[in-house]
Symmetry: C2
Subunit: 122 residues, 2 copies
């Protein structure tokens, strides 16, 4: 499978789910997954999902500017590097963000082992 | 060793070297290393160094805003996620960038297996 196509499909799925039903992101993480959200470290699918669901906005819309992907080494993973903007209701101005995912293979699919999110203020 | 301390030391070393003598970055990469620079994919230490040295500015200065780090899984690597600004001479306005490194252990140190760089235009 073409890694760039897998990365693009993952990114579309991830942000579509984030913007429509954050709780459903739980299925993408495992107990070993790590999220660093604006510097705060969170371990495990349950805690990560709780954090994402608790973010203080009801609606949001991600727009993706760039998606880069590389195989991460012998374990068969992929690093996906995203930049874009996020618009959170009722804010009117989109904020720029960058996010890194490390996807690890599991059966016929991937899960998110590593997730790091930063707003790019300016 | 504290992964955050390793990441911070790596980041300081990397950008100090980049800003003073780009050719010396060669020692941080291996033949298996991958760089994606503004979407362009480059394989191997020699090609990566040639690309970095050929960038069309003589002097530059990185200023780091954030450094996040996570262990990348069973192979003992670390993902380092950096945001900051770069000022290239003779430009007067710094540009924001984000960069991801995947460091893999080798003997008593690390090398850069994956490197992805993006400017964050605004």
């Amino acid at each position: 499978m073409d890694p760039d196509a897998v990365a693009k499909a993952f990114v579309e799925h991830y942000y579509k789910t984030f913007d429509s039903n954050r709780a459903a992101l739980a299925g993408l993480y495992k107990d070993s997954s790590l999220l660093t959200f604006e510097g705060e470290k969170i371990l495990g699918a349950a805690n990560i999902t709780a954090k994402l669901v608790s973010l203080p906005f009801q609606q949001c819309q991600h727009n993706i500017a760039t998606v880069d992907c590389q195989p991460s080494g012998p374990s068969g993973g992929m690093i996906v590097f995203v930049s874009g903007t996020i618009l959170t209701s009722p804010t009117e101005h989109p904020l720029r963000f960058s996010q890194v995912f490390h996807l690890m293979p599991i059966e016929a699919t991937f899960f998110v082992q590593n997730d790091m999110f930063r707003l790019n203020y300016g």
